[in-house]
């Protein structure tokens, strides 16, 4: 049963700003049997992000709220969470664009909770590492006569979109297969597998395809497309997975 505690800040100046009810999920797996929500009335401006509202709560009301964040500009991928039911980056989501007077923040789905909004990333990092996220080739730029491996703009175009991944985990959080299959590689790792397979400098296509061609690999994707819906960087993991399937089905070289 979810409990609710409500705190209202009546001293905060609200003359130039509106207020929202911020509901923050509180759960400590070491002590709590079930989660609960703390509610806070927070002033916000047009440009206030959800992360700023959470940090406002930490500063003025409850400093025990656990949240992971760093860059505040959608680059580090630390502040992924469920905001009003959808996985988003808290630093990249303005309260004003949610069009709601109530903002509910919860930890990401499909990740074990450390505390409150902070989740463990071990599985994501392990699957990411599993697909060998680096260029595989016998020679190196240092040994080659060339100063660097040259690529045409067309060759870069093949993978550059997928190189934007910031490992925030929102795609894995939105993936329905990740919810039931604890061994599934996940959209993040599969998109990164495509990123390196499609790179003209890489020579490790076969070994990478072998890794994902597993009973819990690429074929368990149902193409729900939710990963691409929530990606804050426009990576489109669902498309990467389909392109990767092309290699395994023999449609792509």
């Amino acid at each position: 049963m979810t409990q609710v505690s409500r705190i209202t800040d009546e001293q905060t100046p609200t003359s130039t700003s509106s207020t929202i009810l911020l509901r923050i999920s509180k759960f400590n797996p070491e002590h709590d049997d079930s989660g609960r929500f703390m509610e806070f009335t927070i002033p916000y401006e047009k440009w206030t992000t959800v992360l700023e509202a959470i940090l406002d709560v930490k500063k003025h009301f409850d400093h025990s709220v656990a949240v992971r964040y760093s860059c505040r500009q959608a680059t580090c991928g630390s502040c992924g969470m469920i905001i009003n039911g959808k996985p988003r980056l808290a630093c990249f989501t303005k309260i004003s664009e949610l069009n709601s007077n109530v903002v509910t923040v919860e930890p990401m789905n499909n990740f074990p909770i450390i505390r409150d909004l902070a989740v463990k990333f071990e599985r994501l990092f392990n699957t990411h590492q599993k697909i060998k996220p680096y260029l595989i080739r016998d020679d190196s730029e240092l040994e080659s006569d060339e100063k660097e491996f040259l690529q045409s703009p067309e060759e870069v175009e093949q993978y550059i979109q997928f190189a934007n991944c910031i490992k925030c985990g929102l795609c894995n959080s939105a993936c329905p297969t990740m919810a039931t299959d604890s061994s599934f590689v996940g959209p993040q790792a599969l998109a990164q597998a495509y990123r390196y397979v499609a790179d003209s400098r890489d020579k490790g296509k076969d070994s990478r395809l072998k890794i994902i061609d597993d009973s819990h690999g690429i074929w368990r994707c149902h193409f729900a497309g939710s990963c691409s819906q929530v990606c804050p960087k426009g990576v489109d993991p669902a498309m990467g997975i389909q392109l990767l399937r092309g290699y395994l089905l023999g449609f792509r070289g």
Binding site: T177, T180, D181, S182, S183, F184, D213, D214, S215, H216, G217, W219, R220, L248, L249
Partner: protein, 114 residues
Amino acid sequence: MRESTIMKIHYGTALAAVALVAVHILMRLTQGFAESLEYDSVLANYKFIPYAAMLELILILLAVHGFNGLRVILLELKQGRTYEKAVSYGCLAAMVALIAYGSRTIIMTNMGMT
């Protein structure tokens, strides 16, 4: 067998089954649906070897596709080495059993052993 090979078979059997089931349904309609299901008409179909062969092929295609689909669903439901082996071999055994039982029906009827 590699998962990609299994899935190629999965997609292939689906496409082939759609085509052959379409032929099967069209054959029913050309004859008149209700009449085609009468006892003598069904027996005549089984005794016509090309049609019996097509029914056998549909049986194999649907059994392979269906039981692999079931395997995939069960693998996503729960994980574990023993469980996954049991599911894979269980589905394979069930598929073989269904094909054997269906083939027996087709062959016996074709040979007039009704």
